[in-house]
Amino acid sequence: MPWDVLIFYLIATICTLSAIGVVAVNNPVHSGVFLVLCFLNIAAIFVMLGAEFLAVVQVIVYTGAILVLVLFVLMLVDPDDLPEFHTGRPVQRYVGLLLGALLLLEIGAVILNRTVTGTSGTDTAASIAAVGGNTQALGRTLYTDYLLAFEVVSLVLTVGVIGAIVLALPERLGAASPVTRRGTISLAHPKDTDAALSPGPAGETPMPARPAATVAQPGLATAGRQLIMTKDPDAYTTPGSRRS
């Protein structure tokens, strides 16, 4: 077996295993790391196919930019929001596996039975080398045949950046954080009159009425010393005299 086939099988095996890891691993961060490994192997295969510029772009854009972005968003999303791995719904898993196997069979049959109908292009290895290399030849192709598409892609990137900024903004700039205030503790007003207080400028909400504190808790022991509360602390709250 020639060396290039061996190397291809090595790269393809690592690539496939890491792709399976992306799908099957529980932790999303591990999925992202597996995806980095898979993309690096795809870049190596691009090198095998003579697309050196594309391999570099793959490493810079995919593993350098997109995956870092994904990992940042993973860190920003609250881990409590992440769903459990395959909780319930095993039907989806089996149907997905079945459909995937069917599609693999179909695509395999198509690949094995295909015939090339198009004429071969003119970008042979000799002509690419005559221009100066893969990057130069690809640049000539992009700026002659695909000039309009190239400009449209730049426009799409600009619109995408603006859309991402607009979507990621908070609803109102300077809006209050969604933390709900449970109430304030104030010793400067009479007992059980919290409900009558108007919400202050700081946004405190009245505390709901609660039952009186238990007076003595003999079981509450702290570090060998027993702490016994003999009086209700609320009884010592000074009525009146609100500080302004």
């Binding site: 020639p2 290039d4 086939v5 291809f8 690539c15 792709a19 992306v22 799908v23 999303p28 992202g32 995806l35 795809i42 295969i45 196919l49 003579g50 697309a51 510029f53 594309l54 772009v57 793959q58 854009v61 995919y62 930019a65 997109i66 972005l69 994904v70 968003v73 999303v77 609250d78 929001d81 992440l82 769903p83 395959h86 719904r89 997905g96 596996l97 459909l99 995937g100 695509i107 395999g108 690949i111 071969s120 292009g121 003119t122 970008d123 042979t124 690809l138 192709t141 992009l142 695909y146 598409a149 892609v153 799409v156 990137l157 619109v159 995408g160 859309g163 991402a164 979507l167 990621a168």
Partner: protein, 102 residues
């Protein structure tokens, strides 16, 4: 076996695409689904470059460049949508996101 033909690369591309598709079908975490979509786009890139390699054409690599550019824009917008969803709906579970449905 034998010589390295384009079929090798096409089969690898098909396997990667189908693994990504299975991830989209079975996982419920929006971020993992997003990563699987990126994986599928890469598989398509691979088959485009392989066909261009077989036919001595640079058009496949040109298409792959465009796909990578569009995938970058898609990543920015998609991740912004995921962030906005997790901020407003407090979840990234695709089964719980049905604000457009009801």
């Amino acid at each position: 076996m034998g010589d390295l033909g384009v079929n090798h690369f096409l089969f690898l591309s098909a396997i990667l695409f189908i693994i990504g598709m299975m991830g989209v079908l079975t996982r419920r975490n929006l971020l993992i689904i997003f990563m699987c979509v990126e994986l599928m786009a890469n598989a398509v890139n691979l088959s485009l470059v392989a066909f261009g390699w077989e036919l001595n054409s640079l058009n496949g690599q040109g298409f792959a460049i465009f796909i990578i550019a569009i995938a970058a824009a898609e990543a920015a917008v998609g991740l912004a949508i995921i962030m906005a969803l997790s901020r407003r709906q407090r979840t990234v579970d695709v089964d719980d996101i049905r604000a457009l449905r009801d």
